[in-house]
Symmetry: C2
Subunit: 336 residues, 2 copies
């Protein structure tokens, strides 16, 4: 046992619009007791993800909302520092859905052991974790890109978008990434092999830029953002195009839904498909996907970047940064 | 040869908003010559369908626009009255895409022979033709209703909607039809076996009526209309729901697209699918479908109604009537 005090971050107010640091509070608590079959885990990395915004609202969705004055929970990678389970030893590295705390206890059956020899353990929150799996299943099961097709990815410089675009390239497609800065679009094209990148904030005529980047139209649109960016993509869809609804980050902080052009006429005349999903729809196939993603990473065919913010106390700030496009690649908080 | 004069209906002006009779003209023409391999066909029935509105605009879509001052073409059932083809005899009944004329000539290879012993020949334009096939493929390939699920059909009293709802019943589902009059909703429930019908024009609180008709939410939404009716359905979608985009008749006469609530957030949180289609996507499977539909009709498991308007000269009026909900079942014009 390293310390007798623990720290945790709780939600003290449901955000209105863009979340603010004052919606969260860091508080000290007692060290949790490690019961039978449980382990005590020291947090190494914790994940901040756009989907968590939904849980901060009081509205029931596919996942229960966070309770007020309770700890925020999400993806965590940590080290076992005390064990009362025969399945895990001290020193083991594990990942699971745990609290934003210095230390958590958990039933060993709710944890996944990570092999630190395969890749840096933080990748269990990124390319080999939820975001990588999300890109994989969204692209392989819904987008189903065929060689020679054009794939557009919005939010392309984020954790999911970087993976989705590279998977499109691995499938022999033209990959076009939409992101919010020149540094990001340059990263996509130069470092990740995207065929084109469009900075939606600076393009003088976004629609025109998109058309020029997609001279043969759009076969797959992997959508992380929604809103006007997606509206602009719809008229470019090809016959039997697929729109993968992965996220709608532009809409998460709106106090009330904004209207937009209806998508149905575009989908109708092009016999096109639009489908939402969450990664847990594919829980039964995680192993297959992690294996495949791991192979691509090992072969340097799938690159990733992690944007690491130091300190548990900075987790709220790192989370809020997702909505201003602070991160390139996976936004991660390094605890301690 | 019955006559030496022919009549045809041409489009003389592209409709703005709701089509008017003055957009069309009936004109007399010479009798067409029946060339080698061709037949001369006397029109018995012709089909007016909502999708034709799109062809009257000048905009390129999945099908070329009608040319101005040219005859309108669409589904026609007729009798061969002269033949220069070894494949067809005089007296044969055929269907094909032909002009709104008293007499057409056509290459015999572009025609389908109809067996008048199986069902009234007008069904080749309805339940055993394009609308029946549309309901069949939309429901079986995209909607894929499972026993016990709730299926909502908009435009439920139309040619496609009546078939779609009955197919849902054949699959063991709860079928809820939305239509524009009490006579229509009564017809759906009493004659066709729908479980509930909602008159969207008179329901004091449409949203509430829909909720009460769908106490277990909506698993399949077969959409013929779009607009605010569809907006109301979206929040009721269940996990992994399917939205079949078959038509958007409420939008066809708009001078410019109307905005609406975005559908993506609903599809996203429910892992739901929305897909457009046109019946020709399934051309390779028409035979299978006509066989299945014919069996259901013969077994009285699939009923149909035809709303027949007399006289070629009344085809424009019959077409326009589609948009005011004049018809229950398939709107057909009886020539002669």
């Amino acid at each position: 046992m390293v310390t007798t005090r623990n720290r945790e971050i709780v939600l003290i107010r449901r955000p209105e619009g863009m979340p603010r640091e004052g919606d969260f509070m860091l508080r000290e608590t007692d060290m949790p007791m490690c019961g039978d079959g449980m382990v005590l885990i020291k947090t190494l990395y914790l994940s901040v993800d756009p989907y968590m915004r939904g849980r901060m609202s009081g509205v029931k969705s596919y996942i229960a909302p966070f309770a007020l004055d309770e700890v925020i929970t999400g993806g965590v990678v940590g080290e076992v520092v005390e064990t009362r389970s025969k399945d895990l030893n001290t020193g083991d590295i594990v990942s699971g859905t745990l609290g934003w705390r210095d230390y958590n206890t958990a039933d060993s059956r709710e944890l996944r052991r990570i092999d630190p020899g395969l890749a840096p353990v933080s990748t269990a929150l990124g390319i080999l974790g939820m975001p990588g799996l999300t890109a994989y299943f969204g692209m392989m099961d819904i987008g189903r890109p065929e060689a020679g097709e054009t794939v557009v990815v919005s939010g392309a410089a984020g954790a999911v978008g970087t993976a989705a675009g590279q998977i499109a390239k691995l499938r022999g497609c033209r990959a076009v990434g939409i992101a919010g800065s020149d540094a990001k679009t340059e990263y996509l094209v130069r470092d990740l092999g995207f065929d084109a990148g469009i900075n939606y904030k600076s393009a003088p005529d976004f629609k025109d830029a998109l058309k020029r980047a997609c001279p043969r139209g759009v076969d797959v649109y992997f959508d992380n953002v929604g809103g006007w960016i997606s509206d602009t993509v719809m008229p470019l869809l090809n016959y039997k195009a697929r729109v993968v609804l992965c996220g709608q980050i532009s809409q998460y902080n709106l106090e009330k839904p904004e209207p937009g052009p209806r998508v149905q006429p575009y989908l109708l005349v092009k016999s096109a498909l639009m489908k939402g999903f969450i990664v847990t729809d594919y829980a039964a196939r995680y192993e297959e996907a992690v294996r495949e993603l791991g192979r691509w990473v090992a072969q340097k065919k799938l690159k990733y970047t992690e944007h690491i913010v130091a300190g548990l106390e900075n987790a709220p700030k790192a989370f809020i940064g997702l909505f201003s496009g602070e991160n390139t690649g996976k936004q991660i908080v390094k605890a301690g």
